[in-house]
Symmetry: C2
Subunit: 177 residues, 2 copies
Amino acid sequence: MLEEHRGRGVRMVDIAKRANLSRQAVYLHFASRAELLIATTQFLDHRLDLETRLAPSRAATSGMQRLSAYVACWGNYVPEIYGVAKALLLLKESDAAAAAAWNNRMAAMRDGCRAAVDALHADSALALEWTRGGATDALWTMLSVENWENLTVECGWSNQQYVDRMKVMAERMLVKR
Amino acid sequence: MLEEHRGRGVRMVDIAKRANLSRQAVYLHFASRAELLIATTQFLDHRLDLETRLAPSRAATSGMQRLSAYVACWGNYVPEIYGVAKALLLLKESDAAAAAAWNNRMAAMRDGCRAAVDALHADSALALEWTRGGATDALWTMLSVENWENLTVECGWSNQQYVDRMKVMAERMLVKR
DNA sequence: ATGTTACTTGACATGATGTCAATTGACTCA
DNA sequence: TGAGTCAATTGACATCATGTCAAGTAACAT
């Protein structure tokens, strides 16, 4: 349902109906909407097997290859989690638990960015303008779900275009020439 | 008040109190919270004199200079409007009028991005990987308020760092070498 | 004296989340 | 067969913010 509605306007009563339950019964399973969304995210992560998807990036033998693989992995992952992610993103502004859960996930994503930047650095391929921290911040921000949303929904990029162009952007931005 | 609270949690009753008015009286002046926020944005734009601030960018004699001046202008503008912008950004998800107002402002910002990209193109300085449309999308997304928020608030960049590094990012990303 | 203007107070509707109490139907176990 | 447990139901209620409506008031102008 979250995918269908892009994370917006899905109420507890809608979820209950779809599960053939009363609204109140949902609270017998999840203490709050935030908790339900967080559990959904974890379920999705497990089902989509993020770990396996990350293998190509981890197996990369050069910094540039690692960066490219990471961007591709993430770029193909976002559309699959977009609905839940957006719902959590909206809730985060008013719910501390949702904010914590989101920040936690983003911290994990940031680790991937740092690993890619470190791999570039190890190859002496990181452009001289950047510190490793700064480059990680920049890459992490560029790859945000909000930016994916902006580029695909507002700008009309296909996901393939997103991945291809984001690879170009990341490489031009970070890699020494 | 919006600046103080970073655009979050400012209710009609708070605004009314600060103006020594009853909550209901505010509705004698603004039909809805959305309208009040939109009016506030327009007021701020006027007071901060965006047009004058854009002069250096318009006066640029090269594409690269124009890009750099535009990034600086925008990067110094965002922190001044952040509170209202964030409030509008939050409301946009649930209010059509707020969404329209926001999109309108973002369209204006996008024009600035396109002008910078066009100036690069006119100098034959736009990197070959980019179409003008694609480059505009990318620059526009990179300069989003959300990204500014991410880099300054989450990553702890000072605004000076934001401007300097964003110039580097934009240039590396878009300019041919 | 009359009307206008800006505002006040108090009451109410709406919509979503979340809580609570009482009840029901199915299943299990001694 | 009777007792207990479990999942769920219904209905009522609290909360919180937005937004609406009606009736009243104080200052001021003509």
